[in-house]
């Protein structure tokens, strides 16, 4: 059970309000991702839920009861930190057993749960090592192990993958998703990486300067971003924004078109421009196109291998049904 509800929560450090009044409900068993640029308050929000920071005003409910003044240890939440925060002088076994020892469980139960967690996370062979003797991915798993043995109401992850190299990150991403499928426990995951958000989340919360810009499933955010910020933040490469007469044609201040929704042609198209950089990935090809007269750069994705090079003039056609329109305030026009 782990339904978490934030009711008009605010947080100020001195005179600076980092989180203006904010309401959010996280349903039981949901994988929720807080995503946003650095300094947008997503980690602060997570720490407010964890109880590591005090809420300035408002309330946090966990499972229907007010937990605003409950100390972190009693909230029934487990957290995985960015630095893993393993205890360096303890073996992996002792690290994982630490919360259980603090809860004064009897030794047989502790051993059983530690063995269980180690089995799930492939750590059985490393139980007697110290964190210093483990690789980054293994340390990450120990930190997760320490969280799961407590059988918490919800897991909180604070950018857990940012210290891993790219290949390992993809692997751990998959492991955390699988863990969520298996445990079906509420998870709140903070990241600045929209790819992590898109691949793992049931629900994404996009934050900017402490304000929730949009809440929704990954594809909802992709298909119908509520404003320019969400439109630019979700999706990779970034959405192209075009202002001026071309936007006015569609009755909008700004129009947005994703790179994958533009078709490339050598001979004909609505727009034309000169390729400045082409990135050939094999599966896709990305072109950064200049001199279109629309925006400084238009990014375009083409399927498979397409042979345009630097300096080639190409023609672009946007798919009319997926052009996003925004008004002068940056809000979406339906």
């Amino acid at each position: 059970m782990g339904r978490i509800q934030l009711k008009s929560v605010t947080k100020s450090f001195g005179d600076v309000q980092v989180i203006p009044p904010l309401d959010l409900t996280i349903e039981d068993g949901e994988f929720t991702v807080f995503v946003g640029p650095s300094g947008c308050g997503k980690s602060t929000l997570l720490r407010l839920i964890a109880g590591l920071e005090d809420i300035t005003s408002g309330s946090v409910d966990i499972d229907g009861s007010d937990a605003t003044d409950v100390p972190p240890a009693k909230r029934g939440l487990a957290m995985v930190f960015q630095s893993y925060a393993l205890y360096p002088h303890m073996t992996v076994r002792k690290n994982i057993a630490f919360p259980l020892r603090m809860a004064k469980l009897d030794q047989a139960e502790i051993d059983k749960r530690v063995e269980g967690a180690a089995g799930v996370l492939n750590l059985t062979d490393y139980l007697d090592r110290r964190p210093g003797q483990l690789s980054g991915g293994q340390r990450q798993r120990v930190a997760i192990g320490r969280a799961i043995v407590r059988e918490p109401a919800a897991f909180l992850f604070d950018e857990p993958l940012s210290n891993l190299d790219a290949a390992l990150r993809v692997g751990m991403r998959l492991e955390i998703s699988e863990l969520h499928e298996r445990l079906a426990t509420t998870m709140i995951y903070v990241t600045h990486d929209q790819v992590e958000a898109m691949t793992m989340a049931d629900k994404i919360v996009v934050l900017q300067a402490g304000v929730i810009e949009q809440v929704g499933s990954p594809l909802e955010l992709y298909r119908t971003p509520r404003n320019l910020f969400v439109a630019g933040f979700i999706g990779s490469p970034k959405m192209n924004f075009i202002e001026g007469p071309e936007a006015a044609k569609h009755g909008a201040q700004t129009i947005g078109i994703r790179p994958e929704h533009i078709t490339v042609s050598e001979t004909e198209g609505e727009w034309s421009g000169v390729v400045s950089v082409s990135e050939h990935l094999g599966s896709d090809t990305f072109f950064h196109v200049h001199e279109t007269g629309l925006a400084e750069t238009i990014t375009v994705r083409a399927d498979g291998e397409v042979g345009f090079r630097h300096g080639d003039r190409i023609h672009l056609t946007p798919r009319a049904d997926v052009i996003h329109r925004f008004d002068a305030k940056g809000l979406r026009i339906e």
Binding site: P72, K74, Q82, Y87, F98, P99, R146
Partner: protein
């Protein structure tokens, strides 16, 4: 990239320093050993020839030998205990964010810059004087009879003075260690359900173990040879005669260089015994 040439040049360049240090150590050591086997009374006939192990036997069988060893160990142990415990508490206090942190830290370190002789004099005359000392005034304020510290509680007094001098050193080293503790570890422990005291015991203390080891080892080296504090205050009376002080008395007050040298060799042995014990107890913290 150390080639054959650069390595031999390095050896050549290091040689003067090594020779100097070796000489610095070897000459006094050899002279101590040399005199310890001689009857040498500078004012009563000078060098009176070889006497074998006579000096060694006389030094140990003197009634003041074992009390001196005991006093030495008590001072070392007492000061270590006080400086480490208070040092940890003070370091944790100074680690808290507060107004005027920089100034407070400098003030805390200040006692370390005061010369031992001066600080002992200050303590003796300003604090512990039974008539005009601050402590005497304090005692009288509460209606108690002032204590004549240096004669009635001589050992406690010396331990207090020396602890005051060494507390800054312990605090400073422990403070730097505490500052390097990852705050996420403490937060993780908090989430794991460890209350304040358990966080201290399970997280902070293990993190400090290496710094504590260093404090203990370095302080022991210096505390075994404290002299000025005793010389200025009690002059070795009232049970505060340490081994170092006993040797000083034998050499300078009794003018018996041979006997004092034998005592010096015993002091080296005592220091080594203490060192072996310490390395056994705390040395493993320096590994890994």
């Amino acid at each position: 990239m150390a080639t054959q040439h650069s390595r031999s040049v390095a050896r050549l360049m290091m040689a003067p320093a090594v020779v100097l240090l070796l000489g610095w150590m070897l000459v006094p050591l050899t002279m101590t050993l040399y005199f310890s086997f001689k009857k040498y009374l500078p004012l009563r006939g000078g060098d009176l020839g070889w006497v074998g192990f006579d000096n060694y036997v006389r030094f140990v069988s003197s009634s003041s030998f074992w009390p001196a060893v005991q006093a030495t160990l008590m001072i070392v142990g007492g000061v270590l205990m006080i400086t480490v415990v208070l040092g940890i508490l003070l370091a944790m206090l100074l680690d808290q964010p507060m107004w005027g942190q920089g100034v407070v830290r400098i003030l805390v370190i200040a006692p370390f810059f005061v010369m031992p002789t001066v600080s002992a004099l200050v303590w003796k005359n300003m604090f512990m004087d039974p008539v005009n000392g601050l402590l005497a005034h304090l005692w009288r304020f509460f209606g108690a009879e002032p204590i004549s510290w240096l004669s009635e509680a001589s050992m406690t007094s010396i331990i207090m003075i020396v602890s005051w001098q060494w507390l800054p050193f312990a605090t400073l080293i422990l403070l730097t260690a505490i500052q390097s503790l990852d705050s996420e570890q403490l937060e993780a422990a908090e989430m794991d359900g460890a209350p304040v005291l358990k966080r201290f015991y399970h997280i902070v203390l293990p993190h400090l173990s290496r710094a504590i080891t260093i404090v203990i080892l370095i302080q022991t080296i210096f505390l075994l040879s404290i002299f000025a504090e005793i010389f200025v205050t009690t002059g070795g009376a009232f049970g505060t005669r340490t081994l170092t002080y006993l040797i000083f008395q034998r050499v300078l007050e009794s003018q018996n260089v041979g006997l004092g040298s034998a005592g010096g060799v015993y002091a080296i042995i005592l220091a080594n015994i203490v060192a072996i014990f310490l390395m056994r107890i705390v040395g493993k913290n320096l590994d890994a």
